[in-house]
């Protein structure tokens, strides 16, 4: 297991290297210089631009440019945002907590809702309650998250006024106070639900089916025969068996969150990494764009790794070696 994990981690290195080549190539292929943002549009003197290009090394052969970029990158120097004029790492550090908060809340809500609904439906299959939850799930799987987001803002923010329509926190509150955190949760709750909608629906479905299947298995019959209370059968015996496969989805959740955050943050004007990414594309802020793309790729790699490892941990039948 450990060996497998180690090998997988080592295997990520060439993958990251290849991705970095692709990212660099893409940046070169985008309209304009990959570093053209650093050239001041108001200093259009050709000689000055030439001097700048020389200074930035844009006249070097491409592999030299790549080498310089990747060397700095590996050392944690991601360059300076051409738009915000600050180190990319600082910029990401500023936004990162918001996205992590959003992601974690989304995960928490997903799991809570999925458990509540999945267990209810699984215990009482083919009842109206189950059908209702089933219907909800089908819609959850079918409604694109941005449509759900637009409806949510329209309804909850503007019509009902329950939730804020933008931002991550009320600025007037002092950092660290209880109110501050309540405000943060208040801001994050709707985007988090929208972000987790798809996973919630699929987990609920999965849990329900698994519980129904498990409830027909021998160990449940045995427990029943022994007179174990029904509640205990479901909460202990069946749930334990149904939860295990669910855990393995955690890795894939990271991947889903990466993609989902971009859309959700854009709809809710939630200042996180996803929004930063979108604006870096429209503003051709290459250092930010390249760093974020690398970061997202790394997260996906990590997510897949975690998924595979959890698979192995949870289900020893799957031979990893």
């Amino acid at each position: 297991m450990l060996k497998y994990t180690l090998r997988r981690i080592l295997g990520m290195i060439p993958m990251l290297f290849l991705i970095s080549v692709v990212v660099f190539t893409l940046a070169l292929a985008m309209p304009g210089d990959p570093f053209s943002g650093e050239i001041d549009p108001n200093n259009t003197d050709p000689e000055y631009i030439e001097e700048m290009r020389e200074k930035l090394g844009l006249n070097d052969p491409i592999h030299v440019q790549y080498g310089r970029w990747i060397t700095n990158f590996v050392q944690g120097d991601f360059g300076k945002s051409t738009r915000y004029k600050m180190p990319v790492s600082d910029l990401i550090a500023e936004r990162m907590p918001n996205t992590i908060f959003l992601g974690v809340t989304s995960l928490a809500i997903t799991y809570i809702l999925a458990f509540a609904m999945g267990m209810y439906a699984g215990r009482r299959p083919y009842t109206p309650g189950d059908h209702f939850i089933g219907g909800f799930n089908y819609f959850g799987l079918a409604i694109p998250s941005y449509i759900a987001g637009v409806f949510a803002i329209y309804l909850f923010s503007f019509q009902l006024g329950w939730i804020p329509f933008q931002g991550s926190v009320d600025i007037t509150l002092e950092k660290g106070t209880l109110d501050y955190w309540i405000s943060k949760i208040h801001h994050v709750i709707t985007p988090a639900i929208v972000l987790g909608l798809l996973s919630t629906a699929s987990y609920t479905q999965f849990l329900r089916n698994d519980i129904i299947e498990n409830s027909r298995k021998d160990f449940v019959r045995t427990a029943r025969a022994k007179g174990t209370p029904e509640r205990k059968i479901y909460n202990v015996h069946i749930l334990r068996n149904s939860v295990i496969p669910l855990i393995t989805f955690l890795g894939f959740d990271i991947v889903t969150l990466v993609n989902g955050a971009i859309i959700t943050e854009a709809i809710f004007t939630y200042p996180g990494i996803g929004q930063l990414f979108l604006s870096s594309v429209t503003n051709q802020d290459y250092p930010v764009l390249m760093t974020l793309t690398m970061m997202f790729s790394f997260l996906v790699l990590l997510g897949n790794l975690i998924a595979d490892i959890l698979y192995g941990v949870v289900d020893p039948r799957i031979r990893l070696d």
Partner: protein, 303 residues
Amino acid sequence: MEVLTEKNTKQTPSKPPKSMSPWAIARRKFVRNKLAMVSSFFLLTVMIMSFLAPYITTIDITRVNIGQMSLPPSGEHWLGTDKSGRDVFVRLLYGGRVSLTVGIAATALIVVFGTVIGSIAGYFGGVVDSVLMRFTDFILNFPFLVFVIVLNAILFGKLSGVWVLIVVISVLGWGGVARLVRSKILSEKENEYILAAISIGCKPSKVIIKHLLPNVLSTIIVQATILFATMIVAESGLSYLGFGVPTEVPSWGNMLSTSRDPDVMQNMPWTWIPPAVVLTLTILSINFIGEGIKDALNPKSYR
């Protein structure tokens, strides 16, 4: 020996009683699935109306009608007009054309490419498999949305119209199918009928196409329905964010993106609720059809 007695009964080759192929069985099961049938009917209607849009209406869909802007639904304009004075209903049809085209084309490209790569890797194994699968992993490890957005920004204006988007999402999307097909092929390959096929002189290409693929086709079809839904969502989502099909092309996502204008969102719901509803129902019906096919193709039914 009763076998011998049977042997004596000479029978001339005659047109036999109808025998149920595995596909026929699946078809019968599918037809019995009400939800799937209703969904198929809905999807078919949407598709036919969308693709026949140019024949249903003669309105020039691109024309901006300054005198008829922002009209609510009426007898003349069933779903009203948008801010450009274009008829929303007609746009909905044309939008479906684009969204469904993107969905179908991207799904087709992905399925074909993924199946080719996956079956080659799975069938030949060894070095071929390693190389192809490393490449697949490489593609799979790109965050889909991120790279679609970046690639789309690069190709913008270099390729025309919706094909940029189709090509981009196809290039990035085939990894999952390739992996799935490969694993299915690997397990299907263990069956002796594959050895039999080799021993009766089938070329590798024939083994894959005639023997392996028909047996993994059910998986591929189910996967294709999921992909189809995903691709439609991807198109509309990207268009909503402004990275999808060009704004001048009507698509459901582009129609929905008008709701980013608060005026439209609050005061002209007739322009964005129809695409939202049709889109959601389309995805829903594709999902139901997918479920139906999955049930119908459940191998327990015939093996």
